[in-house]
């Protein structure tokens, strides 16, 4: 089986400093990969390289049957990038909901504008997804009227509305009040059970243990260790993993 996402030797630089230093990672269909590691280790950059929101400078990314290489331009390579992005969902730490659109319109915007669905078909799909994330009562609410947890659930529904081959979640609960974290993690766990391929950058170790099939530790721009989450959390091998977990 070919992986849904494959990174090979991906290297990125920011102002002359390497953020990723040759990362290899493959994600199979239906797999949930948790990306762990210290802040500044390159976790978000790794995620954003997959849909090329952050360009990389060496290596390649194969995703959704397309091959991304260094030096792509938003203008010149717009068609390739759109082809990738319409099949790769993204959930941001700070939601980035469209504040001028209702929850329903936030979710139906992608199917309408990108997939070309009709108005009613797009809204029906959006309604079903809002129900799936437990927000069928909030369809007409605007983002500012929703709690952080509700906003993030709308953002997940928005990404799912494109029926992505892989869903990227960038610290989806880091901006939430502790009491709101649970409702968002429950939705993500639900998606995992339904077989949605996901790459989740998270600091929620318990969640990673319960939901992820595999964990990857990224430190200093490299994958320092990977394996089943239980093994990795209970018996870390790499010194970076031990340091990250607060062990000596």
């Amino acid at each position: 089986m070919t992986p849904v996402v494959a990174l090979r030797g991906v290297t990125t630089q920011l102002g002359g400093t390497a953020v990723l230093r040759g990362v290899d990672l493959a994600v199979d269909r239906g797999e949930v990969v948790a990306v762990l590691g210290p802040s500044g280790g390159g976790k978000s950059t790794l995620l954003r390289a997959i849909n090329y929101l952050t360009p990389f400078h060496a290596g390649e990314v194969e995703v959704a049957g397309q091959r991304l290489r260094p030096g792509l331009s938003e203008r010149r390579d717009a068609a390739l990038l759109r082809a990738v992005r319409r099949r790769v969902g993204m959930v941001f730490q700070h939601f980035h909901l469209f504040p001028h659109l209702s929850a329903l319109d936030n979710v139906s915007a992608g199917p309408r504008r990108v997939l070309g669905l009709g108005h009613e078909a797009a809204r029906a799909r959006a309604r079903a997804l809002l129900e799936r994330v437990g927000l069928d009562g909030q369809a007409d609410a605007f983002p500012h009227a929703l709690s952080g947890g509700q906003q993030q659930r709308v953002a997940i529904a928005r990404a799912l509305a494109m029926e992505p081959e892989v869903l990227l979640l960038d610290e989806p609960t880091s901006a939430l009040d502790p009491r709101l974290v649970g409702e968002v993690l429950a939705v993500i766990a639900d998606l995992a059970r339904a077989g949605q391929t996901m790459v989740v950058v998270t600091h929620e170790l318990g969640f990673a243990r319960r939901v992820a099939g595999r964990a990857v530790v990224l430190a200093g721009g490299r994958v320092v260790e990977e394996g089943p989450p239980e093994r990795l959390l209970d018996a870390p091998q790499a010194p970076e993993t031990r340091a990250f977990l607060g062990l000596r």
Partner: protein, 446 residues
Amino acid sequence: MQGGEPYVFQDPHDSRKLLGFEVEIADALARRLGVRAEFVQNDWQTLIPSLERDDFDVILNGLEVTPERRARVAFTRPYYVFTETLVVRDDERVGSLADLRGKRVGTLGGSLAHALLAATPGVRTVLYEGVEEPYLDLERGRLAGVVLDDVIARRYGLGRPHLRLAATVGEGEYAIAVRPDHTALLEAVDGALAAARADGELRAILTRWGLWNARQEALATAAPPAPLPPSGSRLTWAEVVLFLRAAGVTLVVSAAAMGLAVAGGLGLSIARRYGARPLRAAATAYIELFRGTPVLLQLYVLYYGLAPVLPLGAFTAAVLGLGLNYAAYEAELYRAGLEAVPGGQTEAALALGFSRGQALGRIVLPQALRVALPGIANDFIALLKDSSLVSVITVVELTKQMTITAVDLRGWLVPGLVCAALYLALSYPLARLARRLERRLAPVAA
């Protein structure tokens, strides 16, 4: 005093010195009275209100003796007899004002010629604030004729290669005016003028300026015109209709210009933010140029300056001038709006597979517009008032109509209040609408 050559004008070799036949007459009279003539700059059309305000004591600046003015100021005997001349292009077969029925004829607002044209049925009077511009527009075909005093026609019109004198359509006198209650001053100035006439000094001055002719001989016997009792003046229904029409012009010019500014400003701000380097530079240069120079200057350049290559109609030039100017301001408002939209919004749209254009049009612009909208509505109200500037390129809008009526009514208060009421009637609903839009589109915390 304002009037230009040959009345009163600055010595091109010495900016502190004034030249002109009226300067010489004033100096001659002052010398006879043992005083020094001091010249004050004032708009020609508001000479009489300024005299009434005591901004100066004497008007000696091509002021024609008319019944309306005789009811308001006291005149000395005349110092010059002029004719009203009709100037046309030399390829036109025009022999009288009657030949210009249905055509556009230019003159100076508030002049005797203006009154003459207003009393000629069928002629479309176009008002100017300067004496050179009507002849420029005549040359370029924007006018079919120009009626002005012969002194002006000879200096500014007849020297031009393709213009000719068609007819003399009236006659009048220039006299010196003082406030009616300054009887001693009137007697003194009139006495000095009589003496200057009697001993030939006036004739010498007029001859030096090439203005002496047989008509001036009559001056020897002319007496000061008797003052007329002030007549009551009320705003007539016809004037109210003119006001309403002028308010319509103001609204149409402003709305069209604002439409242009809103669209142009959007293009500019997008070019500046998302365009390639040369496009960005061009948009920036445009904004700085149009923001950094007066709109009045831009109107002049557009209407008079570009006329040889691009002869625009007055209305078109007015809309274009205001619109191009305000586009620069709107562009800055959009820019502030675009900058207020967090980068995450574009990223979220791109991550969904939106094209860059869709991300801008569907996601970023609607949010930017909310930020910019109050400023845009505010600018529309400002534009409504700035549109009064287009009177310099002959468009009779609300403020211009007010000054015309004020001259007719010999009072500024009533026309001023009517004018203000009409501006408010236009701008207040706009302000309300803006506030409602603002509330409906209230920016929401992201």
